[in-house]
């Protein structure tokens, strides 16, 4: 593959992964590469990043694609070939006991010192030695990060690492954290190396399509891992800030109300009766009173949390926000979101309130809606807007459609946010279509969609 082919393939893969790289930016990247020396891979990466990545959240995706198209080394690299101990790769099992022992010893040392270069080399060795999945023909063999990690099991080295760090004079808490971070880094290195080898075997296009994850604001709530959720939580407040800035700006733009004749005529006296400047009445901003009713059962709890956090972070944009959580019973959680409250504490008290929202622990929309209408009849009035969050999966129970119709009829507006892809609506026990007939149902699967929706109703 020529350099140009690699470049074109790289840019194509970035576009496929959701980065909008224009033709002009591709050309910029080439002229940037002409200006730098190529002996260092990080230089090439930085030159590409400066010209192609224009939004920081996309950087993760960019790095993943870059690693596939511009791998750190090819095969086992130069060093291994020089050693010459890989002359017969197929002969006999290579991951025999003594080898594994020796390898784990080397890994423990490298982890203790935290030397990145050695760790990279060990990650490559781990995949080569313990992760090979030989195929029956050329192009059929593969590499598995999972197998390598199972064999090496770096997690078992945590205790030893912690002991070492404690001896260096760190306190217990930090030693634990540092150890965890280093093991996590090594795991990522092994995964990266397996990707690199698969890309070498099957072509980068194959890998880029499969392994590259969408950026954090396009990641489905339901597909998020634990670490993703933490990252999303960090994104909520910046998102709220951006939305608030946008809202104020738009309100300013719409501030000019109808002509104020009296003031205009008065002002015209100063210019000899010619109304040079017109005066307008300020427009009274309309603010919505929001009632959020959210399903916090296991399947959609994350989604509900993010929506609540975002809505409350933007509470200045609404005249009032009340929030209720339900599983099969209803509990009000508005008090949890005090102004200036700490995010982590809010999450804890939200989790605690979930137990109040469950009576039998199985999602029952019909029961929850009925209880809501009974217990909080004053919550919804002609000024308020109702926002229901949930996937509409009600375990085949009674749906209480008339109750919802009544609530929606009393409210000024009503929406239903569904964190599932529309193709899953009305499948299995989902009552999305029945509820959707009463209340307009909106797809809301990631932070970007959530941001757009909240902006639209504020």
């Amino acid at each position: 593959m020529s350099l140009l082919d690699t470049h074109i393939g790289f840019v194509e893969a970035l576009r496929a992964a959701g980065l909008s790289v224009s033709l002009a930016e591709g050309l910029d990247a080439i002229s940037a590469l002409e200006q730098v020396s190529w002996h260092d891979r990080e230089t090439v990466r930085a030159a590409y990043a400066a010209t192609l990545v224009k939004r920081q959240p996309q950087r993760v995706t960019f790095d993943a694609v870059f690693d596939i198209y511009y791998p750190r080394l090819v095969g086992d690299g130069v060093a291994r070939e020089r050693d010459g101990d890989e002359s017969e790769p197929a002969a006999g099992p290579r991951d025999t006991g003594p080898d594994l022992e020796r390898f784990r010893e080397a890994l423990a040392e490298a982890l203790a010192s935290g030397d990145q270069q050695t760790l990279q080399d060990l990650a490559a060795e781990a995949v080569a030695r313990f992760g090979a999945m030989p195929g029956r023909g050329p192009g059929l063999s593969s590499w598995s990060a999972y197998t390598s990690l199972q064999r090496v099991s770096p997690a078992e080295l945590v205790d030893r690492l912690v002991q070492g760090l404690l001896a260096e004079g760190l306190d217990a808490d930090r030693a634990q954290r540092t150890a965890g971070r280093r093991i996590g880094d090594f795991t990522r290195m092994v995964e990266g190396d397996a990707r690199r080898r698969i890309a070498e075997e099957k072509g980068p296009e194959h890998v880029a399509g499969v392994t590259v994850r969408p950026t954090i604001d396009r990641l489905d709530f339901t597909a998020a891992r634990r670490s993703d959720l933490e990252e999303m939580r960090r994104e909520v407040y910046p998102l709220a800030r951006r939305l608030a800035a946008r809202l104020t700006k738009e309100q300013h733009a719409r501030r000019r109300g109808p002509l104020d004749v009296r003031r205009t005529v008065r002002a015209s006296i100063a210019t000899g009766g010619v109304p040079l400047t017109t005066h307008h009445r300020p427009r009274r901003p309309h603010r919505t009173e929001l009632v959020v009713l959210c399903d916090v059962s296991g399947s959609v709890a994350n989604f509900a949390q993010f929506t609540l956090m975002l809505v409350f972070a933007l509470r200045e944009a609404f005249s009032g926000v009340r929030a209720f959580t339900f599983v099969d019973d209803v509990a009000e959680v508005s008090d949890v979101f005090r102004p200036g409250a700490d995010v982590a504490e809010v999450m804890e008290s939200l989790a605690a309130s979930m137990s109040q929202a469950a009576m039998f622990g199985r999602t029952n929309y019909g029961r929850a809606l009925t209880r809501f209408a009974e217990e909080h009849p004053d919550a919804i009035g002609p000024r308020s807007s109702l926002l229901v969050l949930g996937d509409g999966r009600s375990n085949y129970s009674d749906l209480a459609l008339p109750v919802l119709a009544d609530l929606a009829g009393r409210a000024r507006h009503a929406w239903w946010l569904n964190p599932e892809h529309p193709r899953h609506w009305a499948t299995g026990d989902s009552a999305a279509d029945q509820y959707g007939a009463i209340v307009p149902m909106v797809e809301c699967r990631n932070l970007a969609q959530l941001g757009e929706f909240v902006h639209a109703i504020a």
Binding site: L3, S20, S22, A24, E25, D28, S31, A32, E34, Q35, V36, S37, W38, H39, E42, T43, A46, A47, A49, A50, T51, V53, K54, R55, Q56, R59, R174, R233, R234, Y237, P238, R241, R242, A245, R246, K249, H252, G340, A341, D342, V343, A344
Partner: protein, 305 residues
């Protein structure tokens, strides 16, 4: 892949930096410690003569980068501070109405008819009556110039449109005078806090650099270089606490500027050792939310006096 000599045979009108390494050295001499990516991007911005869009949290040294480039290259810094309601008249140029009016009144006495009208008309739209604002000023300067467009995300969308012509061709069209093209392209730095997404058109024309909090080692170097009197041990302790604070889930993580402030505070209070009680006492310098402070005290297990 053969190592190519960078930029050989390229006609360069202005050389800002000779190489990424040169950029790093000269910026360091100007008192700005960069990492490799920052130095490389600064070099590229100069070599490709493209504007540099710098994004990142508040207080990581975005504006300072532009100032450092100006210091390092001996160029003059022209600054356009953006704000809501900034318009053409304050960003680009404006006709000096009062002076024009005077000119018309002065000429109305002598001469008459068509001649004096066209004469006056030609006369009042000349350089003499033009008030240059930062953007036009930076383009017309003969000497090396660094143009800093600060907090570009605070402006309205219309101003972005105005910037497009300036950023892509380094020229400004004044209907009455014609097009003014830069004789010497300025080094343009735009900074943004990402409070609003900039338009694709602006981003496309720029190189992008995201500045983030530095690693512990570089931060220590920054703090000691900014606050000369600081003890090495205290600097290490301070950076250690700041790094731990950034790991917490806070509303506003402490910035580099704030760790420098903290170091200055410790100097002013003549504190030679940053123990837990001192951290708890002076936490207000780095954390500006009450809930953040409570959280820090809890998570770092600080003993409050």
């Amino acid at each position: 892949m053969a190592a190519a000599e960078p930029g050989e045979g390229y006609p360069r009108r202005v050389t800002w930096f000779a190489s990424p390494a040169d950029a790093a050295t000269r910026l360091r001499e100007a008192g700005y410690l960069t990492d490799d990516a920052t130095a490389l991007t600064a070099y590229l911005a100069g070599a490709l003569e493209k504007p540099l869009l710098v994004e990142g949290p508040a207080g990581v040294g975005k504006t300072e980068l532009a100032k450092a480039v100006a210091r390092a290259t001996g160029a003059e810094l022209v600054r356009l501070q953006c704000y809501e309601g900034l318009d053409e008249a304050r960003a680009l140029y404006e006709w000096n109405y009062k002076k024009q009016l005077l000119r018309i009144q002065a000429s109305s006495g002598r001469g008459s008819g068509q001649d004096s009208w066209s004469e006056t008309h030609d006369d009042i739209f000349t350089e003499e009556f033009l008030l240059t604002r930062p953007l036009l000023g930076a383009i017309r300067r003969e000497e090396p110039t660094v143009l800093l467009v600060d907090e570009v995300d605070k402006t309205d969308i219309e101003v972005e449109g105005l910037l497009l012509e300036v950023l892509s061709d380094f020229q400004v069209t004044i209907p009455e005078l014609g097009t003014v093209t830069a004789t010497r392209r300025p080094f343009v730095v735009l900074t943004s806090n990402a409070s609003r997404e900039l338009s694709e058109a602006v981003k496309r024309r720029c190189l992008f650099l995201h500045l983030d909090y530095p690693d512990a080692e570089r931060e220590r170097a920054i703090v000691t270089s900014q606050v000369p009197g600081l003890d090495d041990k205290v600097a290490a302790q301070l950076v250690d606490v700041v790094v731990r604070l950034r790991e917490l889930e806070l509303k506003k993580a402490p910035s580099i500027a704030e760790s420098v402030d903290w170091a200055r505070t410790l100097i002013a209070l003549q504190i030679g050792d940053l123990d837990e009680a001192t951290v708890a006492r002076t936490l207000g310098v780095v954390l500006k939310h009450a809930s953040d402070q409570r959280r820090a005290v809890k998570e770092l297990k600080l003993a409050t006096a």
